[in-house]
């Protein structure tokens, strides 16, 4: 009688000739919060996409409460009480928050003929109340920032009254306070008997929320661990097949200024931002969601036009276009990689070479061989999985796509790197690699800005930290002053 709520067994999945899941099993009890961890490309999203009907398995069975079920489409999944928060936000930009939350399951009136917009908006407001009441449920989703959009996704999953909710990195762009609120929501759901599968690269969240976790590696199930009994080192060893050594921060900052930002402003989003970045320096920018960090980076990169202010690179003012700024040695790793990072039909090598076509061409022709060789080197360094630079980037997992975009700027030999949430969606193993990489880049004399919503990350990588609040830089913390408390103090707006 004690059937698990959900049982996946022997799940295989291939994309054409490429097998990505090999006989994966997963069981979740009613009311359990179950972690699903693994490196980038381990197959977590693929497994959850099978559960939610987005993909169909090549082999394997799904049972709910002991009953075999067939899930051929997202509708089937919804009918079985399965909801999912997707890693890549799945929203319709032109529709309102309320419409997005109720998309595919709208509230009706007039005998089901019409959508009851008023009721949907009221209900959406209620669903968002304990997550982020500031979100305007009648605003088109495209006007929201990433973090808010992610919260909308969470509200959407809650709306469904599901028995099983799969969350694929729901907190990747959330701030700690929001993560706390989400944790409350998850505990509340679990208490009502909802089973939750929770994918995250943030081990602290996994330990905080989950009673057990399934560990995957390269499409295989490598273990199921009880939490919090199993030490985190053991889980990581299962994930990456080796132990991670913890490194401490090293500084390579020099006094040579390379980037001078003076009085940069755009509406109320960024107000009078000024700072200087030096060669070899890693400058962290912390702040709450919506504090304007992304926008500041976009202004510096020339993607959006500043209303006032100047950007000087190596002492000369540079025109406000992405191209001019890139030529001057700047590179931006965008926050939303699917929308602003990847060209999904193009192979990895093309994606890497896109910003340095000049470097890789001679007499007007691209030297494909050189480009691919360089791409292969770079990708070996960041451990792209699978290490195939000729495959379209769209076929890689989210984390691996991030590595490719990183590679783009390495190939372009940018002197100034602007990282917007560089490890968003990147697994612990790769994260450590990226921190090392940042350090190595700094050692090479590159100047680096890291925007991150993960305070430990900011603290780990930065020589100096700027804190933003409501579009202004409210604090500058140098070596000795950097700490969670100090950052939080400057990040929270004065009442």
């Amino acid at each position: 009688m004690t059937h698990p709520r959900l049982s996946l067994s022997g799940i295989d999945k291939s994309f054409g000739p490429i097998a990505v899941l090999h006989g994966v099993n997963l069981t979740v009890a009613p009311g359990e919060v179950h972690g699903l961890v693994g490196e980038n490309g381990a197959g977590k999203s693929t497994l959850l996409n099978i559960l939610s009907g987005v993909l169909r398995p090549t082999a394997g069975t799904v049972e709910i409460d002991g009953q075999p079920v067939s899930i051929a489409s997202p509708r089937d999944a919804a009918a079985q009480g399965i909801a999912m928060i997707h890693q890549e936000l799945q929203q319709v930009p032109e529709l309102t928050v309320a419409q997005n939350i109720f998309l595919g399951a709208s509230l009706r009136r007039a005998g089901g003929l019409f959508i009851d917009h008023a009721a949907q908006e009221a209900e959406a407001q209620r669903l968002l109340a304990d997550l982020d009441p500031a979100i305007d449920v009648t605003a088109p989703v495209k006007t929201l920032r990433v973090a808010q959009r992610q919260i909308v996704e969470i509200a959407k999953a809650r709306r469904a009254n599901a028995r099983i909710i799969a969350m694929d990195e729901p907190t990747s762009s959330l701030m700690p306070a929001e993560v706390d609120r989400l944790a409350e929501v998850i505990r509340g759901l679990a208490a009502k008997g909802v089973s939750i599968i929770y994918v995250s690269h943030k081990m602290d969240e996994i330990y905080r929320l989950c009673s057990a976790a399934t560990v995957m590696r390269d499409g295989h199930l490598v273990g199921r661990v009880a939490l919090p009994e199993t030490p985190v080192e053991d889980v990581i060893r299962l994930m990456v097949g080796r132990a991670l050594v913890h490194a401490t921060h090293r500084s390579f900052a020099t006094p040579r200024p390379v980037l001078e930002v003076r009085g940069l402003s755009r509406g109320s989003v960024v107000r009078d931002a000024s700072f200087t970045l030096h060669a070899g320096e890693v400058l962290g920018i912390a702040g709450l969601v919506g504090s304007g960090r992304t926008e500041l980076l976009r202004l510096i990169a020339g993607i959006d036009r500043a209303e006032s202010g100047t950007v000087e690179i190596n002492g000369t003012a540079v025109a406000a276009t992405p191209l001019a700024r890139i030529r001057a040695g700047l590179g931006l790793l965008p926050e939303e990689r699917k929308r602003e990072g990847i060209i999904r039909w193009r192979p990895v090598a093309s994606n890497i070479g896109l910003s340095s076509m000049r470097r890789f061409s001679r007499a007007g022709l691209i030297r494909k061989g050189a480009l691919e060789a360089r791409a292969l080197d770079l990708m070996r360094e960041v451990q792209l999985r699978p290490l195939d630079v000729r495959r379209p980037i769209g076929n890689f997992s989210g984390g691996n796509q991030q590595k490719v975009i990183l590679g783009r700027w390495l190939a372009a030999e940018a002197e100034i790197l602007l990282f917007d949430e560089p490890t968003r969606g990147i697994d612990v193993g790769a994260k450590a690699e990226i921190y090392e990489l940042i350090e190595r880049l700094a050692e090479d004399g590159k100047a680096i800005v890291v925007v991150s919503s993960e305070l430990p990350e900011v603290i780990r990588v930065s020589d100096r930290v700027l804190v933003m609040c409501e579009g202004r830089i409210t604090a500058e913390l140098t070596a000795g002053e950097i700490g969670e408390a100090a950052i939080a103090r400057a990040a929270i707006p004065a009442a």
């Binding site: 799945q90 929203q91 319709v92 032109e94 419409q99 998309l103 595919g104 305007d136």
Partner: protein, 328 residues
């Protein structure tokens, strides 16, 4: 057709921000219409008379009918190049039924069914066949035209029942029936798009098909519905036309697709899907109708009419873009 403005402004219980955004969006199109209208009014006194304005509405009504269906297809992320030939085949077969003595209402239904079937054919190839809408409907453009030509042998069908003709040429309080019919259809389309789940599905499927699929929206059925509606609208357009002309030609509807797409685009529909407005499309149709009417009134020579048409399409888009600000 102007009547459709009403629902947009008074029934929408939407918040100020969204509402003002929509109004603002359509304002650009209306401004374009007003500028064109003002120019013609200044150039020829006969332009700004009630009979002529009714004339413009009447002459825009068929394009409006087609453009309404086209707008839904475009919003859902597709395009329908086959509307003209679909109109031709349903018009021809509808006329043949009437001439053969089928009661008029039945023949009308029959014609609309044929439009639905054509839409179902292209729709099925696009949704379940997974082909690109542009190319499928381009194929349909030849295919349906050929069927209409083969069926009639190339000759028009004359002798439509007087009752049918009297209806399409009739008036309701001075407003020609075609205008009334299209106004009713526009209100229905507006309700469909803005108030019903299907309308939301159109927007979702056109705006982000992946997200729509993941949310459980029946993507295939939604697109399919858009092409069916477009087919039905094409046949209604054909019925209006054959009623007015008294003959059904297998060549009717030539280039209708371009006019309808132009109207939708002038009215703010994005050809990449997800955006579009019924009201804007109607204004777009009236702009095109006004243009043709004004140029005829001014007796502009053929070559210069062509020139003016090209220029004004572009200028209308520029005005629209300048006023609406955001990306095209």
């Amino acid at each position: 057709m102007m009547t459709t403005a009403a629902p947009k402004t008074d029934t929408a219980p939407k918040p100020a921000s969204v509402l003002s955004r929509i109004r603002f969006r359509d304002a650009g199109t209306i401004l374009g219409l007003m500028i064109i209208g003002a120019i013609f009014a200044a150039l020829t006194p006969s332009f700004l008379t009630v009979p002529n304005l009714i004339n413009i509405l009447q002459q825009s009504s068929i394009n409006a009918c087609i453009a309404l269906g086209m707008t839904l297809v475009i919003i859902s992320g597709g395009i329908d190049l086959s509307v003209g030939p679909v109109a031709a085949i349903s018009g021809v077969l509808g006329a043949a039924m009437m001439v053969a003595g089928v009661p008029v209402p039945l023949a009308i239904l029959g014609a609309i069914c044929i439009g639905l079937c054509c839409g179902a054919f292209t729709g099925a190839l696009i949704t379940w066949g997974g082909l690109q809408p542009f190319i499928v409907t381009l194929g349909g453009l030849s295919l349906f035209r050929a069927l209409a030509l083969i069926y009639t042998g190339g000759t028009p069908i004359f002798g439509l029942p007087a009752a049918f003709r009297a209806f399409t040429n009739g008036n309701l309080a001075g407003i020609p029936h075609p205008v009334v019919i299209v106004a009713v259809l526009a209100v229905l389309a507006w309700i469909l798009l803005n108030k019903t789940p299907l309308g939301e599905y159109f927007l979702a499927v056109g705006g982000n098909p992946d997200a729509a699929r993941v949310a459980g929206v029946p993507v295939a059925a939604t697109k399919f519905a858009a092409y069916m509606i477009s087919g039905a609208m094409a046949s209604i357009g054909a019925l209006i036309l054959i009623g007015r002309l008294g003959a059904a030609e297998p060549t009717l509807g030539n280039l209708w697709e371009l006019d309808a797409i132009a109207a939708a685009a002038i009215g703010g529909a994005s050809l990449s899907g997800g955006r579009g407005s019924i009201f804007g499309t109607l204004i777009g149709c009236i702009i095109l109708g006004t243009l043709r009417n004004g140029l005829t009134l001014l007796n502009v020579q053929a070559f210069y009419q062509l020139l003016a048409t090209g220029l004004i399409i572009i200028v209308a888009m520029l005005i629209d873009r300048a006023t609406s600000g955001k990306q095209g």
